[in-house]
């Protein structure tokens, strides 16, 4: 534990970086160079803060730690309340870890409006970290929604040919979901008089209200996640976004949906979560199988990985709503692992895209000869995405399936089928790009990974392997919080069931 506001410092450090960047003056080239360095250092410092937080984080406790509390919207009793527990700590780390990688990956690629790009990324970092550490619903909403602004600009300004359409689609889809959640949050506030997340977790509202609120929250988180059938913004956004944008989108932004389910839906609305769980299973299975099939026929690498993200997120929602220890821990683990793997996969696509300026799978083939290092890295990532034992992808998927089997065998069987399809499209992608017929001369003359790219990809690859071999490092910090979550969830359900019985026995029925 520490006696200074660590979380606030970590959250708002990027804002300080922005202010400094805004003050940089001089020649265009010098400004661009300085801006890049400034942005990198800021994000590295933020990462340092995040790692420091991690070392001081007490993994044996399920309580919120590093809590900060001060008044904010005073007349309404809405406070500035921050804290992390085992559920959020790794998401914070993920955001802090991927941001410097994104900034580095854009180092030579982004040539126009460098200053604005870096500012957008730092703003994004603040909003992302803020989302995961906020312990007040309104504060959470401010961060959660604020993410849209920089991301809209990142896609729209630095994106591909259909960037305008995609940026709009991303923004409006997400906004539509979020505003419904806002009404839900305000209703919750009106009913309980509190916007404090821990307080709301301890005081579940009436069953009927829970149903409506659950749907309102679901509208937001399902879009963000994204779940079938509201996933259509994701492939568009991914395809058009610049590499760094895709990385952060897949790596962190999608996790906000899953985090929302864990922070809001399950603990605050347990009865509704239990009631709607079957619907979530069905949607998850459709997501897993249907989007896997779509991924099979994609000709665009980024689109393929985007659809695979939807499928992987289908596993996550499935795991979360099994409300079993394995399912939820697997869901969290899968989110972390997917954040790393899909982020790195997008980076890998970016590597070849920078050389050939196309994402068409057709245009590549046989590049294992001229890019052996790339082929190795890509193979590990691909196998991680497939869920090969020894990589982080396996642990998450396995635990989720384990959790699913406890709840519903049919669901688990379908989900397991999806895992096979996942292996199919990833292996096909790998075969066509890395091996395959050597027909494209320009693809065969591409140089292998340079030092910067190695520097970007290798840390992620190592983490993927580390988490695959020693998942305990993460699990031991997650499990106390998850156990608490599930314990309280079941307790609330029992209380509610007991109340329901007494009501039925009552004279008025």
């Amino acid at each position: 534990m520490v006696d200074f506001p660590l979380l606030s410092l970590m959250t708002f450090l990027p804002v300080a970086g922005i202010l400094i960047i805004l003050a940089i003056r001089g020649d265009q080239e010098v400004v661009d160079q300085n801006t890049k360095h400034m942005a990198l250092y800021t994000s590295l410092f933020t990462l340092a803060f995040a790692l420091f937080m991690y070392t001081r984080f007490d993994g044996s406790s399920a309580e919120f730690q590093f809590v900060e509390h001060s008044s904010w919207l005073k007349p309404l009793g809405i406070n500035y309340h921050m804290g992390v527990d085992g559920i959020s700590v790794f998401f914070v780390l993920l955001a802090a870890f991927l941001t410097p990688i994104c900034i580095l990956s854009s180092w030579d690629v982004i040539k126009t409006r460098v200053k604005e790009f870096m500012i957008a990324f730092l703003a994004l970092e603040t909003f992302m970290i803020g989302t995961f550490v906020a312990l007040d619903t309104v504060l959470f909403y401010v961060f959660f929604e604020g993410v849209l602004i920089p991301m809209f600009l990142i896609i729209g300004v630095w994106g591909g040919p259909r960037r305008v359409y995609s940026a709009y689609k991303f923004f409006l889809y997400t906004l539509l979901g979020s505003v419904l959640m806002l009404i839900g949050l305000l209703t919750l506030y009106a009913q309980t008089g509190s916007t404090d997340i821990p307080t709301l977790m301890d005081n579940p509202v009436a069953r009927d209200l829970q149903m409506w609120l659950w749907l309102a929250f679901f509208a937001s988180f399902a879009v963000k996640m994204p779940m079938w059938p509201v996933h259509t913004w994701l492939p568009d956004a991914h395809v058009e976004a610049p590499t760094a944008g895709s990385v952060i989108l897949a790596g962190v932004l999608l996790k906000m949906g899953g985090y929302g389910f864990l922070r809001f839906s399950l603990p605050m609305l347990p009865e509704a979560s239990a009631y709607f769980a079957d619907m979530v299973y069905v949607l998850s299975i459709i997501a897993i199988i249907y989007t896997s099939l779509i991924a099979l026929v994609q000709e665009d690498m980024k689109k393929l990985i985007a659809y695979s993200s939807v499928a992987h997120m289908g596993f996550v929602t499935l795991g979360i709503f099994t409300a079993t220890t394995q399912g939820i821990e697997g869901g969290i683990f899968q989110m972390i692992s997917h954040g790393l793997i899909s982020g790195a996969l997008f980076l890998s696509v970016g590597v070849v895209y920078d050389r050939l300026h196309t994402r068409e799978i057709e245009r590549y083939g046989g590049i294992v000869k001229n890019m052996p290092k790339y082929a190795t890295v890509f193979m590990i990532l691909m196998l991680g995405s497939v869920g090969l034992p020894g990589t982080s992808g396996f642990v998450g998927e396995f635990l989720i399936l384990l959790g699913a089997f406890q709840v519903n065998t049919v669901v688990a069987a379908f989900a397991a089928t999806g895992a096979i399809l996942g292996a199919a499209y990833m292996l096909i992608l790998y075969r066509r790009v890395i091996f395959g017929p050597r027909t494209n001369d320009d693809a065969l003359s591409m140089p292998d990974l340079n030092q910067r790219e190695i520097g970007l990809l290798v840390p992620i690859v190592l983490l993927v392997l580390w988490l695959g071999i020693f998942p305990g490092t993460v699990m031991e910090k997650i499990s106390p919080s998850v156990d608490k979550l599930i314990g309280e969830y079941n307790e609330k359900l029992e209380v509610a069931a007991a109340q329901g019985e007494t009501e039925e026995e009552g004279p008025e029925r």
Partner: protein, 480 residues
């Protein structure tokens, strides 16, 4: 004892003196003194604001109860004066650029300002009407101020004809209220209505007419038809004035009327306001999509925003009223900033108004483009900009009172509205640049823009200051 305490009236008296004095200066010095008179008017507003702060805001009424001073009146007048200073500051250079440097301009604004301040403090029907008409007559002239422009004259005529019609309806409604309650004093009307067992038909009738007249002034749907045309036709500086200030005054008047004398009729007016609010939000959001003129776009945006503000009145509680006050304050500051940008849209000395004229502004004039983008995000209610908190409070007030349907529909229209605000951003950031705007940004306009941006971005850091003041101002409406 005859009640002849004029202290609460001092700001209005001071402004009247300034207005008449400047009129004399203008007449003797001619149009070359316009600049000086403009700044003198701005200074006059600033001094009036200081006087206002000095007279004390405890609740009291003077002139036989015609004029009331309370925290609500004080706060709204302060907002109005700040808005007026901003509009004058925005106009000075514009008058020169458009060759309409005539000294009547600032003087008319002063008299409009006095009218608005009386509207806020009016405590009987006559004072209400006097303030409203003084304001409206000055604004009719201002709308048509660009004499050689057909559009401006059209705007003036349109505004006048429809305004006169609405004033007629208002008067008719007032006469009915007077006839059925026997008084024009707000306090007496309120007591009389409160004691009635059944509401007479004539009172309801009068209320409906009065609300129709006032709905015109705040441009709530279905009385909004004039807004786009007047916004488009009037000289931009006048449009800025229209967008920034009179609505604050009209809202203040509406709130005092509904929450004080007509509180007993809340079941009746609630349905009307509910309808006005919902329709305004829907029409404001959908009609704005098709606009390609930035002034018309802002007209529909203001219609929509009035709809959101009305939600707070529907809630009918002190916190709802406080939310309205806060909403108006934030809206006023944002609009001032937006118009600072719109006024800078000039090429080769000519003003341009197409949204497509903003193409690629982020490359040709990045600072302006970023300022506009921040304002647009704020207008669409995306946190952490100030606009979000205005919406948060009104929706919170509605949800607290159980108006879930209105809140949900309202927030869904805000997504539609986000689309057209985003379009402005899209044009500025994603489209290819065209010719640069003239690099002629006077200091006053820069200052207005800067203050607006600082407010919009800084609000999130210490929101409680503004929220507390808005809530306590509105609370004074409910104590009486």
């Amino acid at each position: 004892m005859i009640d002849f305490n004029l202290i609460p009236l001092l700001p209005e008296i001071f402004l009247s003196l300034i207005g008449m004095g400047l009129l004399i200066v203008g007449v003797s010095e001619g149009n070359r003194s316009t600049r000086v008179i403009c700044w003198a008017a701005a200074a006059g507003f600033a001094i009036a604001a200081l006087i206002l702060l000095g007279v004390g805001w405890e609740t009291r009424s003077v002139l036989n109860g015609m004029f009331v001073m309370d925290k609500f009146a004080g706060f709204m007048k302060l907002l109005i004066l700040i808005g007026l200073i901003a509009s004058v500051a925005l106009s000075v250079r514009y008058l020169v650029q458009e060759g309409m440097e005539r000294f009547e301009f600032p003087i008319l604004i002063i008299f409009a300002g006095i009218g608005m301040m009386i509207m806020v403090s009016a405590n009987n029907l006559l004072a209400l009407y006097m303030g409203l008409e003084l304001q409206a007559l000055s604004l009719y002239v201002l709308a048509a101020f660009q004499r050689n422009s057909v559009r401006s004259s059209e705007a003036g005529i349109k505004y006048f004809v429809l305004g006169a019609l609405s004033s007629g309806m208002l008067l008719f409604g007032m006469s009915l209220i007077y006839g059925f309650t026997g008084s024009i004093d707000f306090g007496v009307i309120g007591r009389t209505l409160g004691e009635l067992n059944a509401i007479p038909f004539g009172v309801t009738f009068g209320l409906v007419f009065m609300l129709a007249g006032l709905a015109f002034k705040i441009s709530a749907v279905p009385f909004h038809m004039w807004t786009p045309d007047v916004y488009q036709g009037a000289p931009t500086a006048v449009t800025a004035l229209f967008a920034i200030v009179p609505k604050v005054a009209a809202f203040a008047l509406l709130m005092r009327l509904l929450f004080e004398p007509f509180m007993a009729l809340s079941d009746q007016w609630l349905q009307i306001i509910y309808f006005l609010s919902l329709m305004s939000m829907v029409v404001g959001a959908f009609a704005a999509i098709a606009q390609d003129n930035i002034k018309r776009l802002l007209a529909y945006s203001s219609i929509g925003n009035m709809g959101y503000a009305l939600i707070g009145i529907v809630a009918g509680t002190a916190s709802g009223a406080g939310a309205v006050v806060l909403y108006l304050m934030i809206y006023m500051v944002m609009t001032a900033g937006v118009f600072a940008v719109v006024l800078s849209m000039r090429r080769q000395g000519l003003a341009v108004y197409k949204i497509s004229d903003l193409s690629g502004l982020s490359k040709t004039a990045p600072t302006l483009a970023y300022a506009m983008a921040i304002l647009m995000f704020s207008m669409s209610g995306i946190p952490p900009a100030a606009g979000f908190f205005g919406k948060l409070l009104v929706f919170n007030a509605a949800v607290t009172e159980g108006y879930y349907i209105l809140a949900t529909l309202g927030i869904l229209t805000s997504v539609v509205a986000a689309y057209y605000y985003l379009r402005v951003i899209k044009v500025m950031f994603f489209d290819e640049p065209i010719d640069e705007f003239d690099k002629d940004m006077p200091f006053a306009r820069r200052a207005v823009l800067l203050i607006s941006i600082l407010f919009v971005l800084g609000f999130v850091i210490k929101p409680s200051v503004f929220i507390e003041n808005s809530l306590s101002a509105a609370a004074s409406l409910f104590t009486g």
